[in-house]
């Protein structure tokens, strides 16, 4: 076993790094920059039942140490993804985490059925946290009962392990995590973006055509760290951590907080090579603190310092 390998339900990864959903398309663009088989896995862009065109432009805005996006779940629909996008990823022989979204329970269930049946998909990531479409699942992601219900239903039809992607736009994320754990989730992904807004001060008009968007990038990393730290103490599910990670040091910090694997989103836009560069650097950081296996990093903070967060 290599020292970087990690094992999560459905995801046997040679290292803990995978690109985050929506920040890597379906992989083929970045395949022009480097060999994708270097990655621990890939999260593909959200799939909905029918193709969606998404929101009007502008869809992105820069903010201090971060960015807002309101793409609006643009994708060619689950059939198109299975037929035209997934096969291109087969040669890389790495686990594929398929992000799924929908407006209704029925849509989530149908998309899950179809995509989880693909032999190329290793696990599904239930996106109940997209803040950018009126009916994008956030209504499931902010009420713990509906989140649990949906998780149970999706789980009952999925042929692969189910990770539930949590929204940070809630007052108590631990409650959400516990609810989906009870409902049978195999793992958690956290965090999705925080709802934000940017205005042109001269005209007063919002920069994004959608007015609001999801904040990502280094600015949200402290929020992600805190939430992962808090949730990992209350649930026993493995966590795919994400939110502002852009360096190997960030990965070590996030695993320390409780993540078992780490997804990299916005940082891919800043540096297309960020994922392989992080992977290459991790062994050096492990050496520096005398840790042999990277999987030992998961939850290290609490083990070392015994400082539980008071539950709110």
């Amino acid at each position: 076993m290599s020292r970087l390998s990690v094992s999560l339900p459905g995801l046997n990864m040679k290292n803990p790094i995978l690109p985050a959903s929506g920040c890597f398309g379906f992989g083929k663009e970045y395949a022009k920059w480097y060999d994708l088989s270097l990655l621990g896995g890939i999260t593909i862009k959200a799939a909905t039942l029918e193709g969606r065109f998404g929101n009007p432009t502008p869809r992105v805005a820069e903010t201090e140490s971060g960015m807002l996006n309101a793409i609006g779940l643009q994708n060619p629909g689950v059939k198109g993804i299975i037929e035209n996008e997934l096969p291109a990823l087969e040669p890389y022989n790495i686990p594929i985490l398929a992000n799924i979204a929908g407006s209704t329970e029925e849509e989530y269930i149908e998309v899950t059925k179809q995509i989880s049946a693909s032999p190329l998909v290793s696990a599904v990531e239930l996106n109940i946290s997209c803040p950018n479409v009126k009916e994008g699942g956030i209504q499931f992601g902010t009420h713990y009962r509906s989140a649990a219900d949906l998780t149970r239903k999706v789980k009952s039809v999925s042929e692969k392990p189910v990770y539930v992607k949590l929204s940070p736009n809630v007052s108590n994320i631990t409650e959400m995590a516990e609810a989906v754990e009870d409902a049978g989730a195999d793992g958690l992904s956290m965090i999705n973006t925080l709802v934000g807004m940017k205005l042109d001060w001269r005209t007063g008009s919002p920069i994004l055509a959608n007015k609001t968007g999801g904040l990502s990038g280094p600015a949200i990393k402290p929020v992600a760290i805190r939430m992962i730290y808090e949730v990992s103490q209350k649930v026993s599910l493995p966590i795919i951590g994400m939110g502002g990670v852009s360096s190997a040091e960030d990965v070590m910090e996030m695993m320390s907080a409780g993540a078992s694997a780490v997804a990299v989103g916005t940082a891919n836009f800043v540096n297309p090579y960020v994922c392989p560069e992080i992977i290459e650097k991790l062994p050096e950081l492990l050496d520096e603190i005398g840790v042999e296996q990277i999987s030992e990093m998961t939850g290290r903070s609490l083990r070392q310092w015994k400082t539980p967060l008071s539950s709110r």
Binding site: C23, E29, W33, T57, I71, Q74, T266
Partner: protein, 256 residues
């Protein structure tokens, strides 16, 4: 497609808030197609996160030098304008599909129409079309005399007509006001500028063969994030990505 560290050989203000930046490095060898762009990192990655798309304005392959012209307007381009000779700039590129120079009949004349900060890529394009032996005419539109740049350099390539909104230089008005007498020869149209201008150019040049280059706010710049889409009726998907399918499209191909 590569990431390059290029070193600044000059970075000077050539008109009000307009900077000419020359960069050198081996990476420039691949920058041979006009209309492509570089995705330029402007500052410390952690505060100004996103790269700025800037068109390739000129390339000197022998000197391994690429020229960018940019307007220092927002925070990022202002930071860029403060960089000194000898500093390095991190760029991705060349990105996107540029103007196809090969596919055009040599006998044709070309009318290149640029508005404001859409002017820069027309310089490299004009040079390439001239090398092919085409007759090249430019219409360059600026706000005002103070905002105008590169006019003498364009004149070296071909006839250059200037319009300014306030009439302080050339014809008072918009680029479309100078098009009428020139389109009777049925030139191939190449146009870069704000969407409203491109729309007006397309209307004036209806029926002619031509190309336009679009702008949109970008994330990745390489086709992965779906930030920069533009609707189209000519493709089954219903959209194009400006960064990777464009920024150059055939006139009429996208819905402006």
């Amino acid at each position: 497609m590569k990431k390059h560290l290029l070193s600044i050989t000059s970075n000077t203000e050539i008109a009000r808030n307009i900077f000419e930046m020359k960069l050198t490095g081996p990476g420039t060898a691949t920058m041979t197609v006009p209309g492509q762009f570089l995705h330029v990192s402007v500052g410390k990655h952690t505060s100004k996160l996103l790269r700025r798309p800037l068109s390739i304005c000129d390339v000197d392959l022998e000197k391994e030098e690429v020229t960018l012209l940019y307007r220092a307007q927002g925070e990022g381009t202002k930071q860029l304008s403060q960089k000194q000779t000898g500093e390095f700039v991190d760029v991705l590129g060349p990105l996107g599909n540029g103007f196809s120079v090969e596919s055009i009949d040599e006998g044709k004349s070309a009318l290149l129409i640029g508005g404001g900060i859409g002017v820069p890529p027309l310089y490299y394009l004009g040079k390439k079309l001239r090398e092919k032996g085409m007759k090249v005419t430019f219409i360059l539109g600026y706000q005002s005399l103070e905002d105008s740049f590169y006019i003498e350099k364009f004149q070296e390539i071909g006839e250059t007509i200037v319009t300014t909104v306030d009439g302080t230089l050339g014809i008072k008005g918009f680029v479309t006001d100078a098009m009428d007498q020139l389109i009777s020869e049925e030139p191939v149209i190449y146009s870069v500028g704000p969407a409203v201008m491109l729309k007006a150019v397309e209307q004036k040049a209806a029926g002619l063969n031509g190309f336009i280059s679009l702008e949109e706010r970008m994330g990745c710049g390489i086709g992965a994030c779906f930030a920069c889409v533009c609707p189209t009726e000519t493709r089954q998907s219903g959209y194009v990505k400006i960064c990777s399918d464009g920024p150059v499209f055939k006139m009429g191909e996208v819905v402006l």
